[in-house]
């Protein structure tokens, strides 16, 4: 399509958007409510956000194959943690484990630690259990379970991808310094979570 039509389409889209009336047909239950509830669960917890972004950031910092192995390992292992939370199996020190994940993963980035891939996978997988457990244990009873599960897995994955996107700055020397600085900030935030300041 010629580009000269683009302004007209954009203006029409703006007019339609401006003229839209408030939707009154939404409920907090069913598929929509379940998805929103699951999607926002990892995003509204700063400790989850910090750790998820750190997973992607560390993967990008380490390069291939970690850049894709870590985001593959995390959700698969996280689901085991979530299953344990849903089933009510006991897991000690969940919040401590989540805070420690930010400390350790951020520290790995800040100090440019590059262990073998299997050690990276074990570290990330171990922390994934704590994050998954928290999501599973806090599953609201009223929402659609399938939509909730899809929402929180997708949100977790998108947080990883945002970390990977940021981590692609590693190609440049200045970007590498910025990423290590971000890792340090994540680690400090983890310490704040750990001692209860945040």
């Amino acid at each position: 399509m010629p580009h000269r039509h683009m302004p007209i389409i954009l203006v029409l889209a703006l007019v339609f958007t401006s003229a839209a009336l408030p939707a009154l047909a939404h409920g907090s239950d069913g598929y929509g409510g379940g998805f929103v509830s699951g999607f926002t669960h990892p995003i509204l917890g700063w400790d989850h956000v910090a750790a998820m972004v750190a997973v992607g950031l560390w993967g990008a910092f380490l390069g291939a194959p970690s850049i894709w192995i870590l985001p593959i390992v995390f959700p698969l292992v996280m689901a085991f943690g979530a299953a344990a939370g849903i089933l009510g199996l006991p897991l000690p020190a969940v919040e401590t484990g989540i805070a420690l994940s930010a400390v350790i993963l951020g520290g790995m980035i800040a100090f440019a630690v590059t262990p073998p891939i299997w050690i990276c996978a074990v570290i990330v997988g171990a922390f994934a259990v704590f994050h998954g457990y928290a999501h599973g244990a806090e599953l609201p009873a009223s929402v659609n379970a399938f939509a909730y599960a899809a929402g929180f897995v997708i949100a977790t994955g998108l947080l990883h991808l945002s970390g990977i996107g940021f981590g692609l700055l590693v190609k440049w020397p200045a970007g590498r310094a910025v990423i290590r600085g971000a890792g340090g900030l994540i680690s400090l935030a983890g310490i704040a979570f750990l001692i209860g300041y945040a």
Partner: protein
Amino acid sequence: MQILRPSCGGLAFGLIAGPAQAHAPIAGIEGFYTGVLHPFTSPAQALLIISLGLLASSFAIPKARWLLGAFLVASLLGLWLGFTPPDLDPLCFAIAFAACACAALCPKRLPLLAALWTTLGGLCIGRLSIPDAGPVPDQIITASGAIIGANLGLLYIFGLTHAIQDRLAAPWVAIAFRIAAAWLGAISLLMLALGSVQTGA
């Protein structure tokens, strides 16, 4: 302008269209269409078919053909045997998780394990395609639709995934499908756990 003219023509034809009166020329054909959609009306079956599609597409086409064939045979066998465990949804979620784990962690490897998951999945889909009680011709039509729908769905997911990987010949495309498999696997495992809790309660 080249696209606008045909679009406006299509819109005009769409607006002047009268009500269609040529539907359902074959008695009972509605059951067939209901059957075709049936595998995608429950999360357990839909997740299983998508997972097996991703697993099959992680292999090269010569090997994937065997997996697709195994699914077809197993689904027919499941329909014919009609085995009736109490609830097949947990088994579907478990197989979906196993298939996704294979597709995400070790694509193009472990073909025998892939064949096992595909066969078990086909058996489950076949069993779940057995319609409720009713006239036998209607049951046959609906079950045929369900088997065709499930196998077509698997074939389309496999074909689409392969087509995307062939067209966008970039390394990240295969990685994106592996990540998608990991996400689907996680959702399947969660559904399995949630189902266990609901069954226990």
